[in-house]
């Protein structure tokens, strides 16, 4: 069973936000109006933002600026803070190491959004809406079963959602392998953000396989974990600039 992980090389990242856009269309995250966006209610499963995040902090004057950008999907931590606090087991970790959310079971208490130190979890303040032709081009993929609603399926209002590492793609790849009556290979699936990245800054694969690109790259001396001190052991590894 693979243990999925991602490596993001900040040296190659140009902060174009292509990953954010690809994610939005792959996973049907709704756009919000500007008034809502000011309240921070925009949903970006893969967010690209400045470090440090506090706008009041002094980041220098051009050309001597210290601002950096970081692209942040869900860390799919090995020791996730969000799972432990969910009172209804709506968020859980599957056997391939992905942290998943069942929208059908979530009661919307938002303790996981408060508990996650990375802020990857988003709440549906209103029912999602798409304007004009956007509504006609939603991703038709759905992950739905008895009492389960996950992945890019349209979320109802009042539940929490987050990056799934494009779970629907993984399911499809598994189904493909099953149909062809062969075993599934870890290189048959990548999330949309990795596929779209124009700088090829993102790598995806099986962290348990020592010859995979992510396993090789995580040994790099530039490798670091976001908020390592939080003890969550994220499975998204960053490569430092320079």
């Amino acid at each position: 069973m693979p243990r999925w992980g991602m490596v993001i090389d900040l040296d190659k990242c140009v902060a174009c936000q292509g990953c954010s856009v690809a994610c939005r269309f792959e996973n049907n995250t709704p756009a919000v109006n500007p008034g809502e966006a000011v309240k921070g209610r925009a949903i970006r499963w893969n967010d690209v933002f400045q470090i440090p995040v506090d706008p009041a902090e002094n980041t220098g004057v051009y050309p001597n600026v210290t601002t950096r950008y970081i692209s942040r999907p869900c860390m799919h931590c090995e020791n996730p803070a969000c799972i432990k606090v969910c009172p209804v087991q709506a968020t859980y970790k599957d056997e391939e190491g992905l942290v998943r959310v069942n929208y059908q079971r979530c009661i919307g208490c938002r303790l996981c959004t408060v508990a996650c130190p990375y802020g990857v979890r988003y709440f549906n303040w209103y029912a999602p809406q798409w304007e004009g032709s956007l509504a006609e081009h939603l991703n038709p993929d759905r992950i739905e079963g008895a009492g389960d609603l996950e992945g890019p399926s349209i979320r109802p209002k009042g539940v929490v959602e987050k990056c799934t590492f494009c779970l629907q793609r993984l399911k499809k790849a598994h189904a493909q392998a099953d149909a062809e009556k062969r075993s599934f290979r870890a290189d048959e699936y990548i999330p949309a953000c990795v596929q779209t990245c124009p700088g090829k800054a993102r790598f995806f694969g099986d962290l348990d396989n020592p010859s995979s690109s992510v396993s090789q790259l995580q040994k790099s001396e530039r490798a670091f974990l976001l908020l390592e001190e939080a003890g969550t052991r994220p499975q998204v590894i960053y490569l430092r600039e320079g």
Partner: protein
Amino acid sequence: MLKADPQDKARLLDPIYALPGKRFWLAAAILLGIIGWGAIMYFRQLFYGLGETGMDRPVYWGIYMVNFVFLIGVSMSGTLISAALQLTRAEWRRPITRIAESLTVFGLLVASLQLLFDIGHPDRLANIIIYGRLQSPLLWDANSLTIYILTSIFALYLQLLPDIALLRDNLPANAQGWQKFLYTRLSLGWKGNLTQWKRLEKAINTVSVLIIPIGVSLHTITSWVFSTTLQPGWKSTILGPYFVVGAIFSGIGMLFMVMTLVSQVLHLEKYIEEKHYHLLGWLFIVMSALWFYFTYTENLTLAAEQESLEFPVLASKLWGDFALSFWGMVALMVIASFIMVVPKLLPSGIQKIFIFRPQFSAASAGTAAVLGAIILFPKLTPFQADLSFPKTTTLAWVLVGLLLLSAGLSISFWLKRHVAATSVIAGACVVFGMWLERWNIIIPTITQPRLIPYLNYQPTIVEISLTVSSLAVLGLLFLIFFKLFPAVSIWEVNEGRVIDSAQSRIEIPAPKPIQTRSLRARGYKR
């Protein structure tokens, strides 16, 4: 047939038998109006989504969570007054146990209402039971809250039982059918024989022992919802006891207000006397000392270590966006403690000194207000501008402080003579101060997580309406409950009278000569 004492009957039973009067309907209509408005707002929120509130990212929890923590804190009063005082056999508790216990039950019911407001899918609440996850602090909280509500309803009912039987047996001839039905059914065939009394006493003692750990656990677990997360400012080991102390503190404050209101409206001055305010006041002072101790410890450690994530949270309280709510809280608590402590310290002869008069206090407070306004508001004349260099401003602030202190001292003698009024003022200060304290614990931390940009929070009309309506629900519950059942526990007061009269007959023997001699040898005269 159980007979009520004639004076109790006139004061406590007859108003219950009488049909609701104009005042009752007026109060009920006002409260129902507020609740109706709240219901409209709630359905709006339910229909459109929680986006109707002012909550945002990162402020995923707002005023509903503040209300929840506050209200379960207020409900701690019943546990303390009735259970703790019952177990320690504090005789003075008797007339106020009923009010305290009903405050517990209604406070908890309204608190659980806040959770319903707060969650995105109230229709899925049963998932907590069906799919509950043992590690989640919210599951512990839901469990503890349910157990606490059930236990406190049970405790209230046990204490009510003999009184319901009394109500049943003293029904006037013209009583309504529903009254007969209600009291007959609820009294469970209570006859007041020895076996029943023995069982009741045993049951009340057992529940009193049980309810204390349950109450403490609920407040501790509510603090764990915060302190088990990784958020800066919440990761505190003392948050549990801090919540418990704050809960008892605000509970006593609320009790002061409710018992005064009830005794004023129902004319129970004969039962709820100055003595009760005085003795509860001592508990209040102890809790205020503990509260100051915990607040100081909690903030001092953050201030001293200056950790890069936690210190900004404290700084935002001390001089940032939350300075008003933080210093407002401190000021209210200082005022509450001052007016409870200082009048107790003053000797009664002090009124001869002319400054200990309300007029002098008003004069000092007025001067302080004028001086404060001069410092704070824009300088109107060049002369004022000339005077406003830092040293003068500091001096003026010191003067404002001294004037306020002298205002407080001068009013103290008046406060000493009006114990009930003092307690209500102190109670109101603490209730509002504790609400602000919950705000100061939740909101400053939640606005400053690690990787989400800072964003402040402003409650919307929906949230404010629901908060006000929740208080209206609390008021309505009290209104209906005290219309149906006596606000003072009749049997407990009677029991107290019996004990009092029995004790007055006991003669304390004079010390024996041999004992007096041994005392004299140690230097005691006579």
